[in-house]
Symmetry: C2
Subunit: 361 residues, 2 copies
Amino acid sequence: MERLLMGPGPSNPYPEVAAALVRPVTGHLDPAFLDLLDETCERLRTVFATGNALTLPLSGTGSAGMEAAMVNLVEPGAPVVVGVNGLFGERIAEVARRAGADVVRVEAPWGEPLDPAALVGAHPAPSVIALVHAETSTGVRNDVAAVAAGKGDALVVADVVTSLGGIEVAVDEWGVDVAYSCSQKCLGAPPGLAPITVSDRARSRLVANPRSWYLDLSLIAAYVEAGGGRTYHHTAPVTMVSALHGALGAVLAEGLDTVRERHRRCGQALQDGLERLGLRLLAPEGHRLPQLTTVVVPDDLPGGASEADVRRRLLQDWGVEIGSGAGRLAGKVWRIGCMGHTARRRNVDALLAALAEVLDR
Amino acid sequence: MERLLMGPGPSNPYPEVAAALVRPVTGHLDPAFLDLLDETCERLRTVFATGNALTLPLSGTGSAGMEAAMVNLVEPGAPVVVGVNGLFGERIAEVARRAGADVVRVEAPWGEPLDPAALVGAHPAPSVIALVHAETSTGVRNDVAAVAAGKGDALVVADVVTSLGGIEVAVDEWGVDVAYSCSQKCLGAPPGLAPITVSDRARSRLVANPRSWYLDLSLIAAYVEAGGGRTYHHTAPVTMVSALHGALGAVLAEGLDTVRERHRRCGQALQDGLERLGLRLLAPEGHRLPQLTTVVVPDDLPGGASEADVRRRLLQDWGVEIGSGAGRLAGKVWRIGCMGHTARRRNVDALLAALAEVLDR
């Protein structure tokens, strides 16, 4: 059965993506492709709300965006403050450690937001302060703007993997230096690319010869930016760039504000509906993400079912995918996404009806 | 105009790829996708000619495969012998250096093959010996089997980016420990994935906590291998995996031997035709790749045209892409690919006719 994708991603791609995927393949140096790439980068600037010249889709998934941010900004031994209140904060800390950082962790319980003041004050002179905007493991929104406002001389790295296109992300206005995302959530393309944007300030501090050659932003810039002479680095994944171009076209045709309002209304309807079913949401009100909702698995599942049984029935009988808990929340929560093209009221209604039946509520 | 892709890659995908690209997106943990992934890995084992359990498509382009091989095998300070007779050998040396290796270079002139005995004898106890099988910058085939036969206690890493599916690659028979490739050349899918295979011997020596988290093969294995519990690492690029699955299906339906024979015949026809036009091939006879031919740019281009003018005319007037020279061969050669679905006699004939007209020969 064709899937309704209401897990933590991928979401169902926008219809425009199918046509974009089968556009005939061209060379990565073909002028026709370079035009498409340039336009994709320009569309990304719009959704990131930035004028950053260095804004592009990296040739990997969202986690490659995270790794690119760290390896290009972190000199071995540099102090890096990382906010950790979920699996993806943990991941940033681990990736930064492998990049050679002296990691300073600032924690909050999983399910609670980070304290911006604690992040800003954690180290007298951090090289980087990094945090997740929309923590996909908990459904909690962290206040990136407040952290960026107090960054001082540090660079602020924001993981906007689950937020970009779903809730406001304002890279320039907030003063974020590097933000990275993915293609398969609120942007509504298949997984495989990591949009990233880098401020001029961050650019002036890029590590020379970072540990990763594949994710070396200076080398990649020389290909992506027309002014860099289109110097070959690696073969751009032309088909996926075309898909992202198509999805971004759909988002911008609808209007970024309208798309975000659609996410807001769907998320509200979903969360209201879940509470009407007597389910408890993990994230506290005021810090919830509309596009990713964590639901506490109730103790009294009918017929002695496990939480995995519930997900399996939804997938097999309704063709609806929801996500399991991740990391220390495995087995304890479900994660319900309402992202991109999937963020429609009729999908919310379908999921709630199916869940009511499976949970016998 | 739709492109005939006769550069160094991408090639034109097999027709089966279009249907595979628009297969509805599923979650990366959906049983339906995991079946497709398992089957893709099994198809890769067939084309690599290996029984290696750890055989999979990495979520990046061919260069990510190179980086994965190096960061997962090289402890900082370890001696790594690298064969360098072209741009991609240079790239291995650079990637190995960034991974912390003590790189021992064994060189041959660009356009000549490496001496296997020189590679084997370059260091008394190398940790890794790495070389490019089909050097895409020069069109030269290096003798991987001879190097692997003399490897002793070292691990042999073979870059089969341009060879896999086009000429014989026999990972197990030759004793290659790690081989990586790409999706967009002789395998006939779009660019974006890096098939890789790792012997059990190499697996027992994988670096713990390598510098790259994204390319950490131990973590990736726990997702890709059913026995690893399907532990989430990153969101698999489901659409590209489907495309590769479709392309591999086309290759195996035709038969790997038949596909390679088709590459051989097309390459021979191309090289014969180029010589009939009075053009000189860079690679010496006996070491030429059928799938990638380097042609020396003649001095006497008609009308004072530059080599770039020739490529531009082929692209604009015939819709045929050929590649420029790369690295120190920039401006000095053209690179003509005849790979995957593109490797057809009628494409060779079309290119030769167009080239004859543009070169006025």
